[in-house]
Amino acid sequence: MRIPRIPTLVLVAAAVSQMGATDCGNALRDPGFDLWCGDQMCAWKVERGEAHKVPTWNAGDPGVELVGSDVAIEQVSPVDSGDGACIEFDLIADVDESSQVALNIDVFGDGSVEHVQPIPTSAWTPLKFELPIQGSYRGIRFEITKRGTGHAVLAQIGAKIVDGCAAFSPIVPAPAPLGAPCDDTTGCADGTCQQTFFGGLCVGCTESSCAANQVCGASDPTSPLRELPRVCEPTGSRELGEQCLHDGECGSGICNFGFAQPTLEPGGEYGNCSACRAGDACGCGAAWTGGDLHGPFVCGAALHAGVPGSGCGDAADCASGACQGTARLQCDVDGRACATAADCPFDGLHNTPCSTVGIQGGSCE
């Protein structure tokens, strides 16, 4: 029988709460555009236009040339208010007059750009500026845009947390999205700011705020920077293997937490919709891939006993040896659904892995 390990609340909470999410104060990975995966930047994502690898002061120290009249590259950083409230930018660029290059600051990474920092025309001249950020925040999306047909090569955009930004007007983040930290200053764009052990968290519902035939469920993740949004969902709308907070979310009527208990704390345990509860005397178990990753719990797990139509999380659960459903991709760190690692919470400046574990919505053939 596959026995799940007991998750450690504190460890998981610390991992997903992003406390101290920098690399020795650096908020950006590969600020010098030195890491290239083939012709693509490894740490930066091209949103629009083209970005080419070009030499800078030395052929071995490349920069990125923004090619085209509408180009944007971005990197999401897990830096948060726990790291500091002042970010210092170092910049070296070769930008001619017919290019308009800007650094956009999108606090929370929710698409709302709070600050646009124009990058002046320069010829490899080092620039430095500081930006204070007000209130609680978690995560910043750094976006560099270029408009115009001119030449623009960026070589170094360092973002570092420093102590104190004197005499600058702070960036006021837009109200926090669901799943983001909040406080009295920031507020929440939707829902309410619910106080937890780790501080305020914007949630879309409470236990009593949902209509009939709805339940305040975990819902799907919206950003690696944020917790699950927790919104009202139709009762029984979740398949086997999906994350849940209440039995009512699951079509099976069981939200299994293993040996843990449900919690609303940020980074706290989520269950997953299962056919039985851990410890049930039916051979209740789950597909297990190591660590804390597991698929939905089913009776007679891995015993090849499941009759056709019965719930399964793995082919070994079925007498037929075939479990029909979709592969369950979820983040190693907290079990949230993911497509790639870019959807998973950060460990330092890196996203944690996204792994396949079990089958979601499976039934034995």
Partner: protein, 554 residues
């Protein structure tokens, strides 16, 4: 010793050249019927068991020069024979004898001057590995039917402190010379007495005897101020000066001998310094031990004691000279151009260092006496690397400099070209501290710049003594710098480049020397604009350096 008979005067008078200006009495013009010939022999090579001499051949050349400049000998009549074999010397003597016989047949009188400087043994002169017996030399000289024959022998061998001529101390060379060459119409000047050795001087770059003989012939020996130097005056001057200068050497005092058997009356002039094309006139007010140094050759041209009250003319080749005058404990250096008169107002005083172990009483010493004219210097350099726009750019790109200093070496070859001035060339190499840039967000992934610079430069050094073994120096170098950089990128590829640019170095320091070896310590600031990046920055590789050097003089 027999002195010059007065009977030789009439014959001697006929030596004066036509352009001579006798002072105070007019010198007679040479009779056209007199033919003059000289054979001047120099041989540095030592025979079996003998060390090669350093200056015998140079002495011969100097004697020939004085004979033509001041002695009335036409250049074509002076046969300079350097490092001959016995057969070659026999051949020269035989040809000379034929010419003199031909002159005699034509009714012309002839006079012959024979000079030899080199090694000798008791029975002969050493011409390299082969000896020419003295008896044969005597017979061949006697066989020349000249009216007057002057023989000057300076035969020496090197010794422990000064160079010593005459390989065997027991050899009574000058006695032997006198015994066999005493004859009518023959005068012999020998560099030392029969029981003495003759010596060379490193400082004079010649033998004591020949040096003093030539200084006397250039005018210092003109005791009666008549504008010409007789053989008697030359002997007296050479005798006293050589004895003075050799008295405290390790070998001991050297007595010049003179033997003559001449018929006639009056003196026999050997040179006419008054008639020289260039002279240095030492003013009447000057007093002290005086040394005339050829500034270009860095060699002593004359050395006399100048008494107060009478001007002295030193016949000398045209050119620039320094006259060093020692008076008591002071030393004055006076620049003068020949022909010309010494201007005491242009003299500047210098510190005086007297070496007591050699050189003899009254010998002038430079404050800093490094006898070597060539020097090889190996310097080790260490110091912080200079920061400039290039390194500022590296810092802006996120690179951090290693804590280690720059370090390297330089090899310099120098040649002394004038007094305190040395010139040469320097080749050097230095490693520059690496700059490293950790890639943020990665583990153990970094970019590192390793670089170095090489330099090839022309070098000029001025070195001035503080003490006999300690000097301070300043040195300037300029030339080509070759910068090499290699960046190991995040992709683990190495991007190397080499650039060229101007380089310079300026240094000051102290140097001590003990014999050939020397040690120096100092400070240097250097830069080689030879490391360039792709965005227009150039690094002047270098900076402040502590220099520790080892030198070798030769």
């Amino acid at each position: 010793m027999r002195l010059l008979p007065l009977a030789a005067l009439a014959l001697a008078a006929s030596w004066a050249p036509a352009h001579a200006e006798p002072v105070p009495a007019p010198a007679p013009a040479p009779a056209p019927a007199i033919a003059t010939y000289a054979i001047v022999v120099g041989s540095n090579a030592g025979g079996p068991g003998q060390t090669d001499l350093r200056y015998a051949e140079d002495d011969a050349r100097r004697v020939a020069a004085v004979l033509t400049e001041l002695g009335g000998y036409p250049p074509e009549a002076v046969d300079v024979v350097v490092h001959p074999t016995p057969d070659q010397l026999r051949d020269r003597l035989a040809k000379l004898a034929d010419r003199v016989r031909a002159d005699a047949a034509a009714g012309r009188q002839a006079r012959v001057f024979f000079y030899y400087s080199g090694h000798a043994r008791a029975q002969g002169i050493d011409l390299g590995a082969t000896e020419l017996p003295l008896t044969e030399l005597r017979e061949r000289l006697f066989a020349i039917p000249a009216a007057l024959t002057v023989v000057v022998l300076d035969a020496c061998q090197s010794g422990a402190f000064s160079r010593i001529k005459g390989a065997q101390a027991a050899a009574d060379f000058s006695f032997s010379s006198r015994q066999h060459l005493d004859a009518t119409g023959v005068a012999v000047l020998a560099s030392s007495s029969g029981s003495e050795l003759s010596q060379e001087s490193e400082q004079l770059k010649g033998s004591y005897f020949t040096h003093n003989l030539l200084v006397g012939l250039r005018g210092a020996g003109d005791a009666n101020g008549d504008g010409q130097v007789s053989i008697d005056e030359a002997y007296r001057y050479a005798y006293h000066q050589t004895l003075l200068e050799t008295a405290e050497t390790a070998v001991g005092g050297q007595h010049v001998t003179f033997e003559a058997d001449l018929k006639g009356h009056g003196e026999v002039p050997l040179s006419y310094p008054r008639a020289a094309t260039a002279q240095i006139v030492l003013p009447a007010s000057l007093e002290g031990k005086t040394l005339v140094e050829d500034r270009r050759a860095h060699a002593v041209a004359a050395e006399i004691y100048k008494a107060k009250g009478t001007a002295v003319r030193i016949a000398i080749a045209p050119g620039d000279y320094d006259v060093l005058v020692r008076d008591g404990h002071s030393l004055s250096r006076c620049p003068v151009t020949a022909p010309g008169e010494l201007d005491l107002a242009r003299c500047r005083r210098e510190a005086l260092v007297v070496e007591t172990a050699k050189g003899g009483p009254g010998a002038l010493q430079e404050p800093w006496q490094d006898p070597h004219r060539y020097m090889a210097v190996l310097d080790l350099l260490v110091g912080p690397e200079h920061h400039d726009g290039y390194t500022d750019n590296l810092a802006a790109f996120g690179y951090n400099e290693d804590l280690a200093p720059s370090g390297g070496f330089a090899l310099t070859g120098l040649r002394q070209i004038y007094d305190r001035l040395w010139i040469g060339a320097t080749a050097g190499w230095a490693s520059i501290p690496s700059w490293k840039h950790d890639i943020v967000g990665t583990q153990n992934l970094a970019q590192q710049l390793d670089w170095s610079v090489a330099e090839v430069m022309a070098t000029m050094r001025i070195e001035q003594g503080w003490w006999s073994w300690l000097a301070y120096f300043g040195q300037l170098s300029a030339g080509l710098g070759i910068g090499h950089s290699a960046l190991e990128g995040a992709d683990h590829m190495t991007y190397a480049s080499t650039n060229f640019g101007p380089a310079f170095a300026a240094a000051i320091g102290l140097r001590v020397h003990f014999g050939h070896a020397g040690f120096a310590a100092g400070w240097q600031y250097d830069g080689a604009y030879a490391v360039k990046d792709l965005i227009g920055n150039t690094h002047a590789a270098g900076g402040n350096r502590l220099v520790l050097g080892f030198s070798w003089g030769f």
